[in-house]
């Protein structure tokens, strides 16, 4: 029963991640999806994997994506400023 619930949460969560358009929101949804995945590993009796997944998906990966997004936006802003100076 728990296993079916966890599988459903993961299936819906994966769909939610794909359907979220904005990368910033997608990162947050990805973190929640990771929590669902953690529950899945736990109810399928893999606590070792669940422990790794919980930290990687809720802290490790979002930090890297958020920092990358920030860097990309910085560069976009600089490029926009450069164009204004030229024109």
């Amino acid at each position: 029963m728990l296993q079916i619930a966890a599988l459903t949460v993961v299936a819906l969560g994966g769909l939610a991640v794909v359907l979220t358009g904005d990368p910033l929101r997608q990162t947050m949804v990805l973190g929640i999806y990771g929590l669902g995945l953690t529950m899945l590993f736990f109810v399928f009796q893999a606590p070792d994997v669940a422990l790794s997944e919980i930290v990687i998906s809720t802290v490790g990966l979002p930090v890297m994506i958020l920092l990358t997004l920030r860097k990309v936006r910085q560069q976009q802003r600089e490029q926009a400023r450069g164009k204004e100076d030229d024109g």
Binding site: Q3, P47, D48, L51, S52, G60, L67, T68, R70
Partner: protein
Amino acid sequence: MNRTGRLIMFGISAVALAAVLVKGFAGLPHFGDYTGVYGTVINGIGVTERHATDLVTALNFDLRAFDTLGEEFILFASILGVVLILRELREEREHPHQEEAEEHSFAGASAAWRALALGLIPAMIVLGGYIVLHGALTPGGGFQGGVILAAGPLAVFLAGRYLRMKVVAPQPLVEAGESIGALGYALIGLGGLIFAGVFFKNFLPLGTPGHLLSAGQMPLASIAVGLEVSGAFLVGWTEFLDQAMVIKEQG
């Protein structure tokens, strides 16, 4: 190719993929219906021969410790690559963002949020240390504990104190931790070669199953991997933070 053409292509491949998947899933054994020999053997000898109550750790740090050596150096090499690519180039000069030079702070890092982060740091470090040390006893081990340990200093950054994070986890210390962990793990393997005649063969007393100091080389290997993993993650995160928070200037 126009939209209709693409849809037809997608339809054909989607139907083919679905057919293969349904056939494949129908042939899978039922959940928990394990018929392999290797797992049964591990379950049989894990506690009696290796004195470890967590068989996953017994597998990672003793029975297949050589595989873990390879995995560890994959992590080590990839972090080395990140450091190499994101290094300060000759014509670049690093200096912190002007408006956040002294104390970078997030918009919205309230006092309550900072207090929460402050409380999280010791809790995470204690939990990480516990999981590293009890690798052979309960689920967890060097990798899981190491990532949790690394997430502790990251909470300083979440509290809006980026530059403080470098005080809590200084780069040379973190890099040294990563290298010492990787080296230590390889040395445990060499110890097996010297004292027991086979690379990564256990050469330490096995102790009583369930005690903290038991299962031979496993606690040591767990600590080495924990150091390596927490160091690697902190180095990686710091490099990414430097890229996003510190402006690189030509000149």
